[in-house]
Point group: C2
Chain length 266, copies 2
């Protein structure tokens, strides 16, 4: 790992047995990936873990050792016995868990808005027991608050796994905290090619990559290499400011180079 | 991490910038999760990494240090400049890369089946340069072969990222290699509850978990806690052989306990 990471580096740890048995597709980390990329940040790694205190503790510790600027955990904040993310974070940070008055107020307010009387049982109070030194983040559409804390240079944010709640807290409380990074929102272009296979395209893409090192070139085969009509999507992409012109030039270069190849040169 | 891991432990490392910028949802690792779970294996962790040699080397090394029985990498086996998974695996294993004759034969056979003449360019030969001591796995529908190798007790399998090719190689070459584990295929049951919120269900689920420690109980809120009709899915699940009867008993216990609660006890 690089010793100093970019001021824009992000890691996500997504927690829940349902992910690892394949019952649930992890659309949450995909959504976070889109959000942070759109705002000029770099998601460096996603880790999916099960509902195991040891696994969570180790996974969080390892992520912290890589010193991302922001570490987002998703899932395991609710009232049930298998919701143990915050305990795992506290263990990784070597901090005690303690009742948090602000979190308790949020939870009390949430339940008091319901039509029936909802006593603050131990399972409900559990959602207000946070790692020492952390703060709750309001959950506008659910019960379990998000949680934010610092460890060295790393900001740790824990969000619930219910997609609507995760998104609401991220948009309401996390996005505003992210400083504007030096890189900008991504600029990108797509090209679709037929009649050429990926291995014939490879040397051309490599030339383009050498010529435009600030851009990122990637080919995605959307059909078989041996199909009659192989379809390849090329994605040209950059978060460097002012790269629009370069992307235009790269497109021209690719079109020019590809059209100079003999037809179906594979 | 536990020092000795179960004979059935699996990790997946899914590689590609497209995952980390949110362009592509990682359905591949979800598919692997379902497959291995169905066959009685335990997926312990999924890691998504970008197309960076350093990131891949470190991610693979960290996974190997956790000593899973099987480590599956997905993506980055193709002919383009950003396909560098095998180089990363080789670096993590501290082994050189070398041309593999069996892999070259597979690739030559693949291209010779095409209607046009396809010369074995360096980009095509690249797919036959493997970490020393590894073997290719035939790709029945694409070009890049899968790769299998051993590191200590861990079997490492590298699969291409195109979903159809990944699935074909996994089914054709990987599933047959997995020994029948001690645990069986999962047995499971689902319950859907309305009119109760998750925090009211939490103590009941905890009782059930204590009474049936071999089973796994998980609640998934499918509506808001404050919705008029909150919907909760309960998943009861086990890979222990002969747990059908226990799951039946647990269902009876839950129905009985829940119906003894006053209606809408939140």
């Amino acid at each position: 790992m690089p010793k100093t990471r970019r001021q824009t580096s992000i890691e996500v740890v997504s927690i829940g047995n349902e992910l690892l048995i394949g019952q649930t597709l992890d659309t949450n980390s995909n959504w976070i990936a889109k959000q942070v990329t759109k705002h000029g940040w770099t998601l460096e790694r996603v880790t999916q873990l099960g509902d195991s205190l040891v696994a969570i503790q180790h996974g969080i510790k390892e992520a912290l050792d890589r010193k991302p600027y922001l570490l987002v955990t998703i899932g395991g904040l609710g009232p049930t016995h298998d919701d143990m993310t915050l305990k795992g974070v506290a263990k990784a940070l070597n901090r005690p868990m303690a009742p948090n008055q602000d979190a308790l107020n949020l939870i009390r307010r949430h339940y008091s808005a319901m039509e029936n009387t909802v006593p603050l049982t131990s399972h409900r109070r559990k959602m207000a027991i946070l790692p020492e030194g952390s703060k709750p983040l309001p959950n506008p559409i659910g019960t379990a608050p998000g949680v934010i804390m610092k460890s060295g240079r790393t900001m740790i944010v824990s969000l619930p796994g219910v997609p609507g709640e995760m998104r609401a807290i991220f948009k309401g409380s996390v996005l505003p905290l992210l400083q504007t990074p030096h890189s900008g929102p991504p600029q990108e272009a797509f090209m679709f090619l037929t009649g050429i296979i990926e291995s014939a395209l490879a040397p051309v893409l490599q030339q383009a990559q050498r010529r435009y090192p600030a851009l990122y070139f990637k080919s995605h085969p959307r059909g078989k290499e041996t199909g009659v009509k192989p379809l390849i999507q090329i994605h040209i992409y950059s978060t460097a400011r002012g790269s629009q012109q370069k992307i235009g030039n790269a497109l021209t270069f690719l079109v020019h180079t590809l059209s100079s190849l003999a037809p179906r040169t594979y």
